[in-house]
Symmetry: C2
Subunit: 352 residues, 2 copies
């Protein structure tokens, strides 16, 4: 017993393939009686059109690939990172609203194994330096959304199908550092990721530049991969300095409430002894005591922009080449100095 095909329905209904196709798709101009009859028969036989055959015919698959590249070397850690989890979800939802499905791509694997998938377009999130994936897809004629650097690396002719969504990561970092400095911080420590993804490179670079400009000592630890233990160890190391930091800015995602707990166990209070800002999408950050200041790279908006760009490109609608988004710094009590209270912010804590 094999699957029932279009021609089987046609035979059973005593009509031709064309009539069946038209009847089921609502196309053509058939008498309602015939249409209904065919539908009846099709239902009775449990007929389901073969999706692949339709795809071949229509020339597109309405399938979009999605790859998160930041930690290519440490595959698949990204489930634990709220940022990626939310981005995947948001992209899937946005794509679906345009009628596209999303396929999760491997971060590693046999050279260009990803090209065997029937994809109309691809999202490459946080490509590493000289990431082969974006070039491969573009060369295969598959439109890609990545970031500006990835497209620039390819040179003029190769990046034709490319679109980008980007943040000014340096700006986000400077915003945080300026805020902390304004709150009186003098020794700002940073936990960063040691990856060649744009986010990490630009953020670290911005921190270094900022320290140089302001004559501050650099206090930075780079993590080869995320992970609770690694991150907590890094924080502990930072506090082991002879003169410990008075502010901490994490660029690597970690459970915000846990970090707060760990800092307290190290004998420091927040924000009294230490001002704290976390780069995280963890919704729990707003609910701790004190609430934790966060720098967010807006997975929802990023997803919307990426999908808009890619879908416009696929459906031949005009659109920009890319979109630059602004990181969102939410200042909460964890990074507001108790010594230098700022009334407008104090009011804000009350409601949180």
């Amino acid at each position: 017993m094999s699957r029932v095909r279009l021609v089987d329905v046609a035979r059973a209904a005593g009509v031709s393939k064309t009539t069946v196709s038209d009847a089921l798709n609502g196309t053509g101009r058939l008498p309602t009686a015939t249409r209904e009859h065919v539908r009846q028969v099709a239902r009775g036989l449990g007929y389901r059109p073969n999706a692949t055959a339709r795809l071949l015919r229509s020339g597109h698959t309405r399938l979009l690939g999605l790859a998160a590249r930041e930690y290519v070397e440490t595959p698949w850690v990204y489930a634990d990172l709220a940022y990626f989890a939310q981005l995947v979800t948001a992209i899937t939802r946005a794509a679906l609203s345009h009628g596209y499905g999303v396929v999760l791509l491997p971060t590693s694997g046999p050279e260009d194994c990803w090209l065997d998938m029937p994809l109309d377009g691809v999202f490459v999130i946080d490509p590493v330096e000289h990431d082969p994936m974006v070039g491969d897809f573009l060369a295969a004629g598959v439109p890609v959304v990545a970031d500006r650097r990835a497209l620039d690396e390819l040179g003029g002719d190769a990046r034709d199908g490319g679109r980008w969504v980007d943040f000014d990561y340096g700006k986000g970092t400077r915003q945080v550092l300026d805020h902390l400095a304004a709150q009186g911080a003098e020794r700002i420590a940073v936990v960063a990721g040691a990856t060649s993804a744009c986010f990490h490179q630009q953020s670290v670079r911005a921190y270094r530049d900022w320290c140089a400009e302001h004559g501050r000592e650099e206090r930075i630890i780079g993590l080869p991969s995320p992970g609770v233990q690694l991150t907590l160890d890094a924080v502990r190391d930072l506090f082991a300095a002879p003169v410990p930091p008075d502010a901490l800015f994490t660029l690597v995602e970690i459970s915000a409430p846990l970090l707060l707990d760990a800092i307290r166990r190290l004998g420091r209070s927040v924000p009294g002894d230490l001002l704290l800002v976390c780069t995280t999408e963890d919704p729990a950050a707003a609910y701790t005591d004190p609430p934790i200041s966060t720098l967010s790279f807006l997975p929802g908006e990023t997803a919307q922009a990426a999908v808009d760009l890619l879908v416009a490109r696929l459906e031949g609608r005009p659109s920009e080449q890319g979109r630059l988004l602004e990181a969102d710094l939410q200042i909460r009590a964890s990074s507001v100095s108790v010594a230098v209270p700022r009334p407008e912010l104090a009011g804000r804590h009350a409601e949180l």
Copy 2:
């Protein structure tokens, strides 16, 4: 300028389509020279085989659907739940290792819009009661992995392509309750999800039965959907009782460190005033002070079992109809009574 096809390469290389196909796929018995020549030409033209056409030809797509159904009514909240995030990741990885890609399916949308996707098989995670999705796919001849209840609902003939992966959720709950009772808890409160997914129904039923058997008063709150604020509110309500609970078991996922923090703000210490066990996959739970006891439904093992079953079915290999897994209760300091110290566990806390 359209995409370059197989015949274009054939023409350019001065050979036939067959030869090109054989040369590129390593099939047939061609002289190395021809093979190399064809490959050269193909590369030169930037030829990429059309994935869809291959699919049609081969009869399968090597694409697997994945749907998380627990909160169908509240679509897409699941990114915030570590359980689903990890399950999606684990399934994707396991599928990829067998050469299958994973497509994220919509939880809602136009009636059977999911059937238009070219899928070889589907994972339906936490189907709700009488979930239409599993019946639809099975009727369309697409093998499905779901849970036993979903298959039983369909009756004998309809569930042919069905496989299941299940937990004895009631057993997990009883295990936790027995543990808490053994630690001296007398008023065990529960935060549950108000969903018709097996997990919630069986867990809640087990709690009710257990309370009845042990003559305990039920203290349970059902949440229509997950969410930080909702969960915290539920906990607060539980503590508003005249005689507050002395143990808490959460079935809804929430940031474990945050919950600990919130409980303290309610003026209760853990485990002194309150024993705590959380159903969660949050890795942070093991790092708080005290470490939090967790009940885990092993996304990694679940994924492995589901993929094994589905792939075996797809590739015609014999396999069981389903697999029953055991939830994993990790007892940590948060649920061990300080009044009734158990030496073997006390030793364990020290290292954590």
